[in-house]
């Protein structure tokens, strides 16, 4: 089984997805990808397909809830919303992220 090559990147993607869903309510995969591009001003380019392993995993961790629905253009898609557990995870990940970046910033400044 191929493991995630980069745990840090994986965690970042989780953080972004959780944050977006926390802000915007139910979204399908394409819309989430769009928002990541918009939010990061296209500076963080990911293969959009790599969202799906993350969405599946987080759904099974019960951080997200998935429901079938139709897009504006009438296509069948799965819409994801964040759960209470997901919000807790988001807080945790945000805190970690800030601690890490803070530490790295300090290190960069004083090294």
């Amino acid at each position: 089984m191929p493991k995630h090559n980069n745990d840090r990147l994986q965690g970042t993607l989780d953080l972004l997805v959780l944050k977006i869903l926390d802000r915007s309510g139910a979204q399908h995969g394409y819309a989430i990808a769009q928002r990541i591009h918009q939010a990061t001003s296209d500076s963080l380019r990911i293969e959009e397909g790599s969202l799906y392993p993350a969405l599946q995993r987080m759904t099974h961790e019960k951080w997200l809830k998935a429901q079938w629905g139709t897009t504006d253009s009438g296509r069948k898609a799965r819409f994801y919303t964040i759960t209470a557990a997901g919000r807790r995870q988001l807080d945790e990940e945000e805190r970690r992220w800030l601690t890490l970046t803070d530490a790295v910033n300090k290190a960069l400044r004083f090294a």
Partner: protein
């Protein structure tokens, strides 16, 4: 996510994949639309692929992610856990053995409980079968009277709650022809028995109603065991004739293997030939009935009590009927057949099951402690895993995989132990344990063991888990032992205290049983059981048609036996202590009329040969004994036991008084009543049914030449039938060595006579306390194991605490603390926990020992001596377990200790 859910996911991987494909297709289509809108045109599809990446790869990754902890990974996890366990063999072996011992004990006792108490009796709809029994307030008999013909017909004709009732009576008879004469157990039963039990013969047929009428043809149905044993499984057995008690009977059927009614020793069933016109009768029978659908046992009991009150109308003018209802405050004690069979042992078995359950708890505490030590050692490893993002569930898996593996291994080994233990119980268990032959480790027991193993894994696995998953980042808990381990020490002390409490509870229970057993063995049986061989001889009516002939044959046998070398004394009685054979009847005292509305006293009438009291070693308390001369001259004399003398002749000299059995009302008009017998002696009491009898039964002994027997009309009701006598042979040689010459001596009198129930008086006394011995031994083993495991656990905890505090102790010693005071400090710590545990154990035992009160004999369930002795024993052992680590703490060299960490 739960393992079940994961398994489900694996099974529906295809469906998940379909859903994902749909989702991904939508996504690709939306990108394409976007690219087209941006003017990508024909490039749109390629652009979409470039932005999305390989749909196949991402789909696979997504699915694998979900399956990340799927079944394959559970195996992987188990494999890792197994490797970790193999790397620490001492820990693994200790844990597996501890668990195997405890789970094995639980599985074995459960197998017994399940087969004896829980398994339905081997009859269709057996929960509808009831034992129809009676008790009497006036006779002080809570149950066990059985039933009379009168009540059988009363219920048969008038009950609306019963769907059939069958009467039976067990007896013994000599089987002759086709080999050695053999004394076998037979049961006379009404034709309805097969329909009530809903079990028919495997070969041939059961009795018809006609064969159950007096004067009907003599038929017999064999047990499967007898058919194989004596007739070699002869397929042509039907229509053969066998000779039972001198009567030829046609074999009409063979019951299926395992049919054992009323007990497994029965080899032959014959028709009970009775009619209603034979009258009310006496308490000779047992009865089994089937309840109608929707009827409860309580309904049946209510109805029977009504029918009991009405018995005189059913048998007008029958004095026995009149005297055996309201007069003796008779009541129905109908209960389910299973309860009647196993009720007596149910409490003991449940208590044993609880006891081994407590042992399992002690074992869990021990293994949990081992785990705590292990998880401490790996605290940093766990902290690293948490820091790397392992969730609580990941850490839980890490530990639970180990505990499940250990306890499944323990369970498998325990199952093997249980199989051995159950075989031991079946071969060595007390014969009084009902359904003994049915006990085995079956599928239910295996399932129980498996369940127990898994539950056990979660119990001992959860404790260290709860202690060791750090709630926050735990990397800061570095090298030196510090305050963070305090809570872990706390958990250990809790486990240690719990072990002390459990072990003490079990110790007290087994201590009470041991004392009860000692008291029972100390009971003066009223006779001397040392070195006495006993056996029964039944004279067939055909060859010995009169009482005189039977008495002459017994005397001839006694003469031959007395002449054997090594024999000190010989005699015979219709019944021995702790056995059957004496006749219970009402007792009339001459010149003492029975006031109307009262019941005369009941006594057991025994018929003896001369010299019986000498041969048995019974003490003479007054008057004289019964001699050979009394027997030969048929003197109307009788010797009574102390209980009868005190009960019937309080403040009176019984010697010289005249007594007789109650005159049977059915005797012919003008026929003489039973001869009054002069009381010539008083002897010591002997137990009639069990060593634990609170009051000895009233008993009297008459010369066998004036008792009942062949040719004596049963209406005379003088005494028991002397055709069947139990012989006692006291010798200087061991009884077993005497047996061949005894057989020879008997066959010199009549080669066709069989020796039945050959045993020793000592063996009879032993088997009377066998059930208590069984409970006692198992409880003592459970308590011993609990104590052993507890001590090992406490020693382990104390040693560990000392090793953890090595640095601190080093500092204390370096600062000038006395080694003695260091040892005392460690001892104090262990002692405080032990005392707290002991207090809890004492309280639990005080509250719980009431549950075993009914198993005890001659001792209060709160016996202070037992409580004190077991507590002292426990505290000494625990002190020893604490002292060894304390001593090693005191012997630490401060320099070494400080360097150690």
């Amino acid at each position: 996510m739960s393992p079940l859910r994961r398994l489900w996911n694996v099974l529906r991987r295809d469906r998940l994949d379909d859903e994902l494909r749909q989702e991904v297709d939508t996504h690709l289509a939306l990108i394409e639309e976007e690219e087209r809108a941006n003017g990508a045109g024909a490039q749109a599809t390629r652009q979409a692929r470039a932005r999305f990446g390989s749909p196949l790869v991402h789909r696979e990754r997504a699915l694998d992610g979900v399956m990340a902890m799927s079944v394959e990974n559970i195996w992987k996890e188990a494999g890792f856990a197994a490797r970790r366990l193999v790397r620490s063999p001492a820990f693994s072996v200790a844990a597996v053995l501890t668990l195997a011992l405890a789970i094995g004990a639980n599985a074995a006792i459960f197998a017994v409980v399940q087969r004896v108490l829980l398994n339905p009796l081997p009859y269709p709809d057996s929960d509808r079968l009831v034992d129809v029994d009676h008790g009497s307030q006036r006779l002080n008999l809570p149950s066990g009277l059985g039933i009379t013909r009168g009540y059988y017909y009363q219920y048969l004709e008038r009950s609306h709650t019963l769907d059939g009732i069958a009467l039976y009576a067990a007896e013994n008879a000599t089987l002759t022809g086709d080999g050695e004469p053999e004394r076998i157990r037979t049961t006379r039963a009404t034709a309805s028995l097969a329909t009530v039990l809903r079990v028919g013969p495997a070969i041939g047929r059961w009795f018809s109603e006609d064969e159950g009428q007096p004067g009907g043809p003599q038929r017999v149905v064999l047990s499967h065991g007898l058919w194989i044993r004596r007739y070699g499984g002869d397929p042509g057995i039907l229509g053969r004739t066998i000779n039972l008690g001198g009567v030829s009977m046609d074999v009409i059927g063979v019951m299926p293997q395992g049919f054992a009614f009323p007990d497994p020793r029965v080899d032959v069933w014959t028709p009970q030939q009775i009619t209603r016109s034979m009258g009310f009768g006496i308490w000779l029978y047992g009865a089994v009935a089937r309840l109608r659908d929707g009827v409860t046992v309580a309904d049946a009991r209510t109805e029977m009590n009504t029918l009991i009150a009405d018995i005189t109308r059913a048998f007008p003018g029958d004095e026995f009927a009149a005297g055996n209802s309201a007069g003796i405050a008779l009541f129905s004690t109908v209960r389910t057949l299973k309860e009647a069979m196993v009720g007596a042992v149910a409490r003991a078995l449940w208590i044993l099951l609880v006891s081994v359950g407590l042992v399992l708890l002690v074992a869990c505490a021990n293994v949990a402690n081992l785990f705590l030590v292990r998880s401490d050692a790996r605290q940093r490893e766990v902290a690293v895993r948490v820091a790397l993002g392992a969730g609580r569930s990941g850490i839980a898996r890490y530990f639970l995989a180990e505990s499940v593996l250990l306890s499944v291994a323990g369970g498998a080994l325990g199952l093997a132990i249980a199989c051995g233990a159950v075989r031991l119980v079946v071969s060595a268990g007390p014969a009084t344990l009902p359904r003994l032959a049915e006990i085995r480790v079956d599928g239910v027991a295996v399932a129980y063991t498996l369940l127990l193993s898994v539950v056990t894994a979660f119990v001992f696995g959860a404790i260290p888990l709860w202690r060791s998953i750090p709630l926050g980042p735990a990397l800061n808990e570095s090298g030196r032992g510090n305050t963070a381990t305090r809570s872990r020490h706390h958990a250990r002390r809790l486990l240690m205290g719990g072990q002390v409490a459990l072990a003490l509870t079990l110790l007290i229970a087994s201590g009470l049983m041991v004392r009860s057993f000692q008291k029972m063995r100390d009971v003066d049986p009223g006779f001397n059981p040392d070195s006495v061989l006993t056996f029964r001889i039944g004279l067939p009516d055909r060859a010995y048609p009169t009482r005189a002939a039977a008495v002459a044959a017994h005397l001839a046998i006694l003469d031959r036996l007395a002449a054997l070398p090594g024999v000190v004394a010989v005699s015979a009685s219709s019944g021995l202590p702790l056995g059957s054979g004496c006749m219970g009847n009402t007792l009339l005292v001459q010149n003492r009329p029975i006031p109307p509305g009262t019941t005369p006293p009941i006594a057991r009438f025994c018929a003896v040969a001369g010299g019986y009291f000498e041969a048995m070693g019974m003490r003479l308390l007054g008057g004289r004994r019964i001699t050979r001369d009394d027997v030969e001259r048929s003197l109307p004399v009788v010797v009574v036991n102390e209980a009868l003398a005190k009960r019937v002749f309080p403040n009176q000299n019984p010697l010289g008084q005249y007594v007789s059995s109650n005159a049977p009302p059915a005797r012919a008009e003008g026929a003489p009543g039973p001869t009054p017998l002069e009381i010539v002696g008083v002897v010591s009491n002997t137990p009639s049914r069990s060593l634990a009898e609170p009051d000895a039964a009233s008993q009297l002994y008459m010369p066998m030449s004036i008792a009942g027997g062949p040719g004596i009309p049963p209406t005379a009701l003088l005494g028991p039938d002397v055709a069947l006598m139990a012989f006692v042979v006291r010798s200087t040689t061991p009884p077993s060595a005497l047996l061949p010459s005894v057989r020879g001596a008997v066959s010199l009198v009549d080669p066709k006579l069989a020796l039945a129930l050959v045993t020793t008086l000592q063996a009879m006394v032993d088997s009377a306390s066998a059930q208590m011995a069984f409970t006692m031994v198992l409880l003592a083993v459970a308590a011993g194991v609990a104590l052993m495991l507890g001590v090992i656990g406490i020693y382990g905890v104390m040693s560990y605490i000392v090793s953890q505090r090595t640095a601190e102790i080093g500092v204390r010693l370096a600062l000038g603390a006395e080694p003695r005071s260091v040892a005392a400090m460690i001892l104090r710590q262990g002692g405080a926990v032990a005392v707290a545990g002991a207090v809890v154990g004492l309280v639990a035992a005080f509250a719980g020992s009431r549950l075993i009160a009914s198993l005890l004999f001659g001792i209060s369930p709160h016996d202070p001596a037992v409580f004190a002795a077991t507590t002292v024993l426990l505290l000494i052992v625990v002190a020893l377990a604490c002292w060894l680590p304390a001593r090693s703490a005191a012997r630490l060299s401060p320099v070494e200790a400080l360097r150690a960490d």
